[in-house]
């Protein structure tokens, strides 16, 4: 099987393209089903997060899909511009594809180095693909290996400790605008992991009010309870209160799964006057974005998105290069073991297939020879039987060697002569004998 990865991430694709390429669970499941229908011999999984959309495939070596097939599949699925997809995509094969997944899982490829959320996202992508029946032995081994390795590397290097988290960067951003948070109102839109992490960081700054809204209000209330946000100034509010809360808020953090902006410019602009010119810090952690980018150009509004966070985070991660090197060295061992097992499994299947093929040939020839033996009708002489056996052996050897030797046919320009010749010598332990000298040949005669 051949392992492929085609993907887009925060380094290769701008936010607008990542928005177009984002798959929610429903769409991801549909895409996996479609891929399985088109290429039934292949295994596939799809990892779609705020910062990346990546397809992982294991397919028979000479079968489709190729990278080009995958690109056109993504174009069809998302409706994104084919040229943009071609320019922004990265693809990896075999060991490089495995290395990529292992790095992603360990948070080494994340915007925030060592961030823990991505591991959960990889797990969910694996579970989703497994649930769709799209994962086979190769991807099972690959994803399980990546998840295990990620945990091990995080434990051994502590790369997820003392990191510059998205939430801590969010607080640092807010500190560019506000001096203190004691009289500030924080509004969180959404109730997912990112919101939870951001609120946990913002809470340490002791804001006056910490409010949450979510389409399902109960989820906001539950998250507030989980974060121990009690009292009249804190807690979940109704989704319909959003406009009044946007007037009161000084800091807005949004991360929902909405496919269209929740707060548009036309919705927000009338609220500005009621805010009486108070500055507003808005952080949009969602992909696709929740807050209309045009809002950022309004007076006293400071809107940032994930790409802005990336810029800030990259400035602070250069000092952790040693930790990355250590983590990558540890991952190397895990990747080698995983790929070794995948290759070993492939070889096992190959040997089984070879045995089956040879047995089939042997059976066929055995049947033919048995018929000839029967046709002798008791007139068999020792010589006749020996001849039959010799013919049997000759046919058997010819049939077995027919395909391998045809690869050595010099007339085929695509044949990798040297490779096959070397493989045959190695497989059958044949010595590379020099041509017989002319004088030696003549003396024999």
């Amino acid at each position: 099987m051949r392992l492929l990865m085609l993907g887009f991430n925060h380094r290769t694709a701008p936010l607008e393209l990542r928005e177009a390429l984002a798959f929610d669970n429903e769409r991801a499941a549909a895409a996996l089903h479609e891929l399985r229908q088109r290429y039934p011999a292949s295994e596939c999984a799809l990892l779609s997060t705020c910062n990346r959309t990546e397809f992982y495939l294991a397919r028979p070596i000479h079968d489709p899909p190729t990278i080009e097939h995958l690109r056109s599949f993504i174009t069809q699925q998302t409706g994104a511009d084919a040229d943009a997809i071609h320019t922004a995509s990265i693809h990896r094969e075999q060991e490089e594809a495995a290395t990529h997944l292992f790095r992603v899982s360990a948070g080494l490829d994340s915007m925030v180095l060592g961030e823990p959320q991505v591991l959960g996202q990889v797990k969910r992508a694996y579970e989703l693909a497994d649930g769709c029946g799209a994962v086979g032995p190769v991807l099972h081994r690959l994803f399980q290996g990546a998840i295990t390795a990620s945990k091990s590397v995080r434990r051994q290097t502590g790369i997820d400790q003392g990191r510059t988290s998205v939430s801590s960067v969010a607080v640092a951003f807010a500190k560019n605008i506000f001096d203190h948070f004691g009289d500030k109102t924080v509004l969180a839109i959404g109730a997912g992991e990112m919101i939870k992490a951001s609120l946990a960081s913002l809470r340490r700054e002791n804001p006056k009010r910490l409010l949450l809204i979510n389409r399902t209000q109960q989820r906001a209330i539950d998250l507030a309870k989980q974060l121990e946000l009690t009292g009249t100034d804190h807690g979940g509010r109704a989704w319909d209160d959003m406009d009044s809360l946007l007037i009161e808020a000084d800091i807005v953090v949004s991360c929902t799964g909405a496919t269209e902006p929740i707060v548009t410019e036309s919705r927000f602009k009338p609220l500005l006057k009621k805010r009486r010119g108070r500055p507003l810090f808005m952080l949009d952690l969602a992909v696709p974005r929740d807050l209309d980018p045009k809002i950022g150009s309004l007076r006293n509004v400071y809107l940032y998105n994930l790409d802005d966070l990336q810029q800030a985070v990259e400035a602070t991660t250069s000092g952790r290069r040693e930790l990355v090197n250590e983590a990558e060295a540890l991952l190397r061992g895990h990747i080698d073991r995983c790929m070794g097992e995948i290759r070993h499994r492939d070889i096992g299947r190959l040997v089984k297939q070879l045995r089956q093929r040879l047995n089939d040939i042997a059976q066929e020839e055995q049947g033919r020879t048995a018929k000839k033996l029967a046709s002798l009708n008791g007139q068999s002489t020792e010589q006749a039987v020996e001849d039959l056996i010799a013919q049997h052996n000759h046919r058997l050897v010819n049939k077995i060697l027919h395909l391998p030797l045809s690869q050595l046919d010099r007339s085929d320009p695509d044949a990798s002569m040297g490779f096959y010749a070397a493989a045959l010598r190695r497989l059958f332990d044949l010595k590379d004998q020099p041509d017989m000298p002319m004088d030696e040949a003549s003396s024999d005669t």
């Binding site: 560019n176 506000f178 108070r278």
Partner: protein, 296 residues
């Protein structure tokens, strides 16, 4: 006659201030070397403070030999520098005001250079006659300290515009040591404007007392209310009156408040320019008037 004993410390202080400015720019640009580059700036600003203090005390004790601290324009400029230099030194050690010194130091350098000019080329003592002496000294003192506040507010305003521009353009995100927050700068502008407003009010009142109650002919004449100086001073006063209520007037918050702080300083300086121009005209026209009050 040039006051060399005042000019030399002022020239040295100007050079030290320019050196501090260069070092401060380096410090902001090379954020990772914060610890190693802070002390030379502090040393330079300390030197500026010492030189200004020396010149001020020298003038008070040796030149004037009187308790009246502001007897010439250079004394006022020295007073401002003497207050501004330690204030900048203080902001250097405040992480919440990181970068402010970059905007305040050019002002200090300008004031010091102005002081050099005022000693070497345009030195003129104020005429402090017996009747108005107390009022004039009070008027000059509050005007100069008020000017200092206006200058601080304007520096805060300029920095506000700079920081806000960077935030809007998303430049310099993830800086190890970010510049002062917009809220801090707004507070600084507000406080400077409030103090400046109070001092300008006192300056206007004392000036009003001087021109209305003095039986001498003031430089403004009887029609003092039509003088550009009075109108400019009143305009500056109104600007600061608006500025101190900026958190109540939503329409002038943010960038507009910063621009107002700068406009306030420009008006105050224009008032000074009008005074200078008016005085020169008066002196040219009525050179026989013996007691023309040199106002601010």
């Amino acid at each position: 006659m040039p006051e060399l004993s005042t000019s030399i410390p002022l020239i040295l202080a100007t050079l030290a201030c320019i050196a501090a400015m260069v070092l401060a720019v380096r410090r902001v640009r090379q954020l990772d070397e914060l610890a190693t580059t802070l002390w030379p700036i502090q040393a330079m600003l300390g030197l500026v403070t010492v030189l200004c203090l020396f010149a001020f005390v020298y003038r008070l004790t040796i030149v004037h030999k009187a308790w009246v601290p502001v007897q010439a324009h250079v004394d006022g400029l020295l007073l401002i520098s003497l207050l501004l230099a330690p204030a900048i030194l203080y902001t250097q050690s405040r992480p919440r005001l990181f970068g402010f010194s970059l905007f305040a130091m050019p002002l200090l350098a300008l004031i010091l250079a102005w002081g050099v000019c005022a000693t070497l080329w345009t030195y003129r003592p104020f005429n402090l006659d017996s009747f108005t002496q107390a009022w004039t000294v009070f008027h000059l003192a509050v005007t100069y300290v008020g000017l200092l506040c206006c200058a601080m507010g304007a520096a805060g305003g300029a920095m506000y515009l700079f920081v806000q521009g960077r935030l809007k353009s998303k430049a310099g995100l993830g800086q190890v040591n970010p510049m002062a927050s917009l809220e801090t700068l707004e507070t600084l502008i507000l406080r400077a404007a409030t103090l400046g407003f109070v001092l300008l009010t006192l300056s206007l009142i004392s000036g009003l007392v001087m021109v209305t109650q003095s039986d001498h002919t003031s430089s403004l004449g009887k029609a003092w209310w039509s003088s550009p100086k009075v109108w400019l001073a009143a305009a500056a006063w109104i600007v600061y009156a608006v500025l101190i209520n900026v958190r109540s007037f939503s329409t002038v918050r943010g960038r507009r408040a910063a621009w107002l702080a700068i406009a306030g300083l420009v008006l105050v300086l224009a008032t000074y320019g009008a005074v200078e121009a008016l005085d020169r005209t008066q002196q040219d026209d009525t050179s026989n008037v013996p007691h023309a009050v040199e106002a601010d």
